[in-house]
Amino acid sequence: MRQLLNTLYISTDEAYLRLEGETLVMSVDKVKRHQVPLHHLGAIVCLGRVGMSPQLMARCMSDGRSIVWLDENGRFQARVEGPVNGNILLRQAQFRAADQVDKALMLSKCFIAGKLRNSRNVLMRSARDNPNEVEREQLAKAAKALAINLRNLEHAESAASVLGLEGDAGRVYFEQMNTMIKPAMRNTFEYKGRSRRPPKDNVNALISFLYALILNDCRSALETVGLDPQLGFFHEVRPGRPSLALDLMEEFRAVLGDRLALTLINRGQLQHGDFDYREGGAVYLNDKGRQTVVRTYQERKKETLQHPVLETEVEIGLLPLLQARMLARYLRGDVETYIPFFNK
């Protein structure tokens, strides 16, 4: 199985990256701070104001190493692209499929089935870990509700009903967010309902940042296999919106994002001081908090899980790429259907 290469996250403001022999050198104010060999790097993600030499970019492109820039909160800004990229036949197939209502519906159901199954797993796992009987039952009840929505999803006949089932499941799931947080942590981490732009509490700030990292990994995975991240099946197409990356991400929110957020909170790895509280109510992770999250995210990606289709252990970080590839295979008529990733 292909090795998961490291992703280098650079979040130091005003850092400059350049090529030196077979290594990447990071300096700030012309002072060398880090030097890493290139051959273990699969991708470079720059968070915030980070510069890079054209020589390093060219080298990464010829090696097939991706480079992206995200802003401090993980939102996509730019990406460097090499000369050979993607496959026009695949994109054609993707565009044609998006225009076929039944195909698009089938794929939407698959992405959301993955999401519901994995979200349900998070609930059940939290239920197992929760010593409080009342809360345990509450979590189990929510898991049951998700199972019902999953079953109804199979028979959904329109995009609107898929959206309805997904929205309903999301509400049920997020209602349990506070129950999944350990009582001792509930003072610092109180989830007050989903808020995105901007996040208005610590929990939202944390999951928004994690989702941004996952979205970026999905986007890169799609670009790597040659799919167009902007044309999705479930998420509506809007200029500037990576709707296929958002589609693919549905399978990974719970596995890569929510579970990790709960771990970071419940193990006390993040505290009040890891966030910035802005005038008027917006909350973001600060520098220190982001570092902790990025480090834990990287560690999580190295853990392995059993892949339901491939029936082998795979690194979690490879999942977006494997799924993107399977999606490409399906779109090119190589396999009969698309199977989302789900935890057994």
Binding site: A147, V309, L310, E336
Partner: protein, 209 residues
Amino acid sequence: MSDLYLIMLSALQHYSYCPRQCALIHQEQIFEDNVFTIRGHLAHERVDSGESGVEYGLRVERALPLFSERYGLVGKADVVEFLADGTPYPIEYKQGKRQQKLHDEVQLIAQALCLEEMTGKTIAEGAIFHHKSRRRRVVALTPALRAHTEQLIIAVRQLLLSAQIPPPTTERALCENCSLVEACQPDLIASASVIKRLRSQLFSVEDEA
């Protein structure tokens, strides 16, 4: 200019190794390095240098651009020696052992077809140079080999024009040495029954909590 759909000389070799490999590389544009291809690159470094000159009294061209309008081929020859009368003598460099099928031969014959068209000379033979054993094996351009190569060119063109991806090879031993095995996922394609079963269970979960 002919309006034949141009194919790369290397596509012939890929096709004769495994048609799916040919489609993955030339249509899906997938190329993944592994030890085998990296070793191949190293073996080719000298060859790719594009140096030419006179060696042992023969004119030698390395990395010579090749083309044939008649067959719609483009590519490069590792090494072409030119005999005293100007007749080209193509030499195909191989890092591995001799292949069972005619992959290497086909590659050589296709190069010869290009060279014949480019120079107007008739080529009677060429050679395959095995890096490991450092041996040259002479290959005669027999009518049978020519016909085989011409048929292969037609088959490759048909495949690439069809924009279809053929199924994985049934000779699974080939997959073990294939640089595309990660991207190709022959096991995934072969696991149609797993996919079918998962598909039928996708929307239901055992209700334990």
